[in-house]
């Protein structure tokens, strides 16, 4: 029995990937460690991110219409395959909890200081649970509207803040030590671009599988270009203060002041975070729930949506003690922690599949 009957178009996939990549990066500026050279770090990271996307899309092109869990079972056999799948499901589950954590931390710090974190987490989780219950098609349809609005808002913010921009703030170019720049670009490739590996659980549902690969590339590329634009804007507006702020995009929007009438536009950035975070959490949540249902051979993934959501909220509430630790993990631990999931699992699976000459067309394993 098929666990998911929905189909999404390649355009919807591209938009979903853009929304997913914007996810937490609307708020946590990628490449911030590189100071005013963040845009260079993002550009280099985008290239590495495209390589990561290349690896996992080749895998899905080999096994059209199959999720990573099904591919693992075919390539490694039932026991080892399920073990590797559970590792990947843990990554998706943890990713969802991390985004939830960023999300609630931002809301607590900037917008709702008196509201308990658990309440904001439960509310966003309920919305995501409802979406996941409706299937991938509903999520993909949401992306068409919400991602377009987000990109328009980013352009709107940039136009309004243009009078405060000083491009001299971007000079001198390549001011950071090369080692630090390369590390930051790798961190940027992993978060946010490499996280798109979560789509290994979604690419199976593209209505024209042969177009899935180019749709992923388009999505990653457009998201990367927008993030480079945002990094340039933030550095040009905030100058030397840019690396100091926890949420530079939010602070940049605070600068907007058109004739003392149009002010406090930063709430638009918060809306962007809420909508794009919703995509990232939902895709990770969907992947984790669908994957677990496939591992345990369930007839539907719907019964386990709410329990997994509850566990994700609990992990989001308890996974880091404070904001400084979260940023330390994002900058130092995360770029290494995710290498097995984002690069090793897809690459090794692809190599083993090639060696075993899988999938065998017309054979029982195809």
């Amino acid at each position: 029995m098929l666990l998911e009957n929905g189909k999404i178009s390649s355009l919807q996939l591209s938009l979903l990937i853009i929304g997913f990549i914007f996810g937490a990066s609307v708020i946590i500026a990628p490449g911030q460690q590189a100071g005013h050279d963040a845009w260079i770090a993002i550009a280099l990271g985008l290239m590495e991110g495209l390589i990561i996307a290349g690896i996992f899309t080749v895998l899905t092109q080999h096994f059209k219409g199959k999720t990573l869990v099904e591919i693992n079972s075919l390539v490694y056999g039932k026991i080892l395959g399920n073990f590797i799948s559970i590792l990947f499901i843990w990554y998706l589950f943890h990713l969802g909890a991390l985004v939830l954590n960023n999300y609630s931390r931002f809301l607590k710090l900037e917008l709702y200081p008196a509201t308990p974190k658990a309440l904001t987490l439960i509310l966003i989780m309920l919305v995501c649970a409802l979406t996941v219950r409706r299937g991938i098609e509903v999520l993909a349809r949401c992306s068409l509207i919400l991602v377009t609005i987000t990109i328009l808002m980013a352009i709107f913010d940039t136009l309004l803040v243009a009078p405060h921009m000083d491009l001299q703030n971007l000079l001198p170019i390549l001011d950071v030590p090369i080692g630090k720049l390369l590390w930051t670009s790798h961190a940027t490739a992993i978060f946010p671009f490499g996280d798109a590996v979560a789509f290994l659980m979604v690419l199976a549902f593209v209505n024209k599988p042969e177009k899935g690969r180019s749709a992923v590339f388009k999505g990653v590329l457009i998201a990367g270009l927008v993030l480079i634009g945002v990094a340039v804007r933030n550095a040009a507006v905030l100058g030397q203060m840019n690396p100091i702020y926890t949420y530079p995009t939010y602070i940049t929007a605070q600068v907007i002041d058109v004739g003392d009438v149009l002010t406090r536009v930063e709430v638009l950035v918060a809306i962007n975070l809420i909508t794009m975070g919703f995509f990232k959490i939902s895709v990770a949540y969907y992947g984790a729930v669908l994957g677990l249902a496939q591992v345990f051979n369930l007839r539907s993934y719907r019964p386990i949506i709410l329990p997994i959501g509850i566990l994700m909220v609990i992990l989001a509430l308890t996974n880091v003690s404070n904001t400084a630790e979260m940023f330390d993990f994002a900058n130092n631990g995360y770029p290494i922690y995710t290498i097995p999931f984002q690069i090793a699992i897809p690459l090794i699976t692809l190599l083993v599949a090639k060696l075993r000459k899988l999938p065998q067309i017309g054979g029982e394993q195809a």
Partner: protein, 69 residues
């Protein structure tokens, strides 16, 4: 607080269990019950003020410690 947690979990169980029993989907019911029970234990621990180890911090410290970062 604990009462709120129990009411919440009770509602989730009420939403899911009757449908699964009617369809006789025992495997799905078992999976649901195990995951929900894990969630219940952890939620009760949090509401009683028992500290749960921060998973991400442990992962971060292990990686940075191993690599001497």
């Amino acid at each position: 607080m604990i009462a709120l947690v129990l009411i919440g979990f009770g509602m989730v169980a009420l939403i899911q269990i009757p449908g699964l029993v009617r369809k006789q989907w025992w495997r799905e019911l078992l999976c649901f019950a195990v995951l929900l029970f894990m969630g219940l234990i952890l939620s009760v621990m949090i509401s009683m003020g028992i500290e749960i180890p921060p998973v991400t911090t442990i992962i971060n410290e292990t990686i940075t410690g191993m690599l001497g970062m």
